[in-house]
Subunit: 142 residues, 2 copies
């Protein structure tokens, strides 16, 4: 059985290893620039990309646990980078939206993100990079 098992081709290992390497490389940027955690950056980016939404929406989009979302939202709120507005019809729900400052931080990190992503694209080549994105997207829907 062991001869059938190979860590190099074992997806949980391979993905985690690659993911950590790539994610942490970018984390240095938002950590140094804004002292943000990974959860905070994810929440900011999701709000910046998809606009005002609820905490549950953010959790669905990022895959973050709702407690992580809750904490990250609070932390970003403290920076005055977002506002929460209670829904009038369903008072359990709060619509979360970036402030001007939040949008500006998102924009600044967008630029860094595009540059960072381009490095990987250059390294792999356009064709392979696009193939990788497609394959990962597909795997997400397994």
């Amino acid at each position: 059985m062991t001869e059938k098992f190979n860590l190099h081709g074992f997806l949980p290992f391979l993905l985690h290893h690659t993911s950590e390497k790539v994610s942490l490389g970018f984390r240095d940027i938002y950590r140094d620039r804004y002292k943000m955690t990974r959860s905070e950056w994810r929440v900011l980016a999701t709000l910046g990309q998809y606009g005002p939404q609820t905490a549950t929406d953010i959790g669905t989009r990022t895959g973050l646990h709702k407690t992580k979302v809750s904490r990250a939202v609070h932390s970003i709120e403290t920076r005055r980078w977002l506002n929460r507005r209670q829904d009038e019809n369903d008072r359990r729900i709060h619509l979360i939206e970036l402030t001007k400052q939040g949008q500006s931080a998102f924009l600044s990190l967008c630029q860094a993100g595009v540059t960072y992503n381009q490095k990987a694209r250059d390294f792999l080549g356009d064709k392979d990079f696009d193939a990788l994105v497609t394959l990962l997207g597909k795997l997400n829907h397994m």
Copy 2:
């Protein structure tokens, strides 16, 4: 700038998202079967796959921080799944090797791992699966 930035094609997001999904799916297996953490499983698998080695070797192979390796090794040692033997020439170094019990646990999880990996292979198809493994491996060396 924002229009150039797309979370769907942003590697740190995409990789992390996919990786979490795939890794956690397998984690359920070793957690339910042996109450192991992710670090512990990684250390066990590395020892099973590459044989006796030092803690530093394990760290290099898994990408785990040395404190995580240290803790995981202790925890696995408590189960009597591994032995540590001090190097006679360099007494800072300990060679870590699986016991019979450790090997047997590794074997049992190997089987589950092969099955788990095969599900992804079936889902993507042989060609795409192999392409994905290749691309991730390449990206690891960026």
